[in-house]
Symmetry: C2
Subunit: 213 residues, 2 copies
DNA sequence: GTCTATAATGCGATAGAC
DNA sequence: GTCTATCGCATTATAGAC
């Protein structure tokens, strides 16, 4: 395959930012940031160790002093992405009161905001997870399962309390989750909305979808 | 990178089926089908010409008698995927009457059904489009733009006729489109729904989201 | 921890016989 | 249209000096 002569772009141009706290310090963190940039651009299979090392400004061999393989770089990115999502959802839920309407709005708002704040991380986390071995993917899958559980529990509570009118909770969870996930792909500084406006709008959509009254 | 020893899987196991009519006949069609299977499994960058040829049962060199490059195989897949979506949406809209409520339900139903019928094609079409050069991606992008236009027009009509109550049409289109797109990733024969049940459920969700009454 | 050098492999694509 | 054989190159990862 000859040189393409063009830049493959999956999303609106944004910088490869990682959330504080869950990101490792020093060179490890810089490699992770470079890996995010490269994998977001070319995918896991399409991006190379040499490209990542080039972005960091180190030799490709040096990278192996920090990560044992290319897969482990992706695995840590996927872990960080899921961890940030999970902690934000849990925090939102904790401060949302005991009514299902408030809880659902808080969950959707948090999901939208995290996807708007870290779009590259969200895309890599979701689109490249399949490239990991079951062992390396397991921690992320566990966190994803807990996120899904939170949403299902809120929907179930809402139906029980007659705050929601939903014939099927599973289908609704799929639809609501899809809405927020996709924000990472189109939201950016070029859009005529602030992140808060999207979060509020999508929370309202979710409440309507759930038949809240 | 050593042999992984496991099978990367992006979706529930389904066969690589292509829609009739828009798919080329003969060996060209069999290559396209094999390409769909390989790209869905490993992505465009991760799948190889040799793998595709192996699935077809021909030598890798023979493939170049039918497609000039690996990119052209993906380009035709992406074109077929967008063409099938566009024709199904247009057909649905044509038979949906002149009220926005019926039109929106028909569009969402059609979108869900095409994603449920051709999940592998939908995933490749959406996740690997970015790997194509602007020239090869252009026909698909044009079709995508027209699909989006259909949805926006229906939402606009509904607001004008007061059938819908929507503060923002663009955001609603993003949310509704995301719902249906994501069906390709989770729907399968293992789910407790028929394709019709999902289509009906999601059409109802879209109407609620739009504030239909 | 960082480098140079390289091993071992797989890749896309082409040449040329049939 | 299909094959065998191969070119030229990029890849992941390692060995070993400093």
């Amino acid at each position: 395959m000859e040189d393409p002569g063009w830049e493959p772009r999956r999303l609106a141009a944004v910088s490869a930012v990682l959330p504080e706290g869950v990101t490792p310090p020093g060179t490890r963190g810089r490699i992770l940031e470079a890996g995010l940039s490269v994998f977001a651009e070319a995918g896991f299979a399409g991006g190379s160790i040499r490209q990542i090392a080039g972005v960091v400004g180190i030799n490709s061999a040096t990278l192996y002093a920090h990560y044992p393989s290319k897969s482990h770089v992706l695995a840590e990115l996927v872990r960080v992405g899921h961890q940030e999502l999970h902690s934000r959802l849990a925090e939102a839920l904790a401060g949302a009161g005991d009514r299902a309407t408030g809880q659902l709005a808080a969950l959707v708002r948090a999901q939208v905001l995290v996807h708007a704040d870290y779009p590259l991380l969200a895309v890599v986390t979701n689109d490249e997870l399949h490239a990991l071995s079951p062992e390396l993917a397991a921690p992320a899958l566990e966190l994803r399962s807990r996120c899904r559980r939170m949403l299902l529990d809120v929907l179930e509570l809402g139906v029980k309390d007659s705050d929601f009118a939903l014939p099927d909770i599973l289908m609704a969870a799929g639809a609501i989750g899809a809405m927020g996930l996709r924000v990472a792909y189109w939201f950016g500084p070029d859009q005529p909305y602030t992140r808060e406006q999207v979060a509020d709008g999508y929370a309202e959509f979710a409440l309507r979808l759930a038949g809240a009254h």
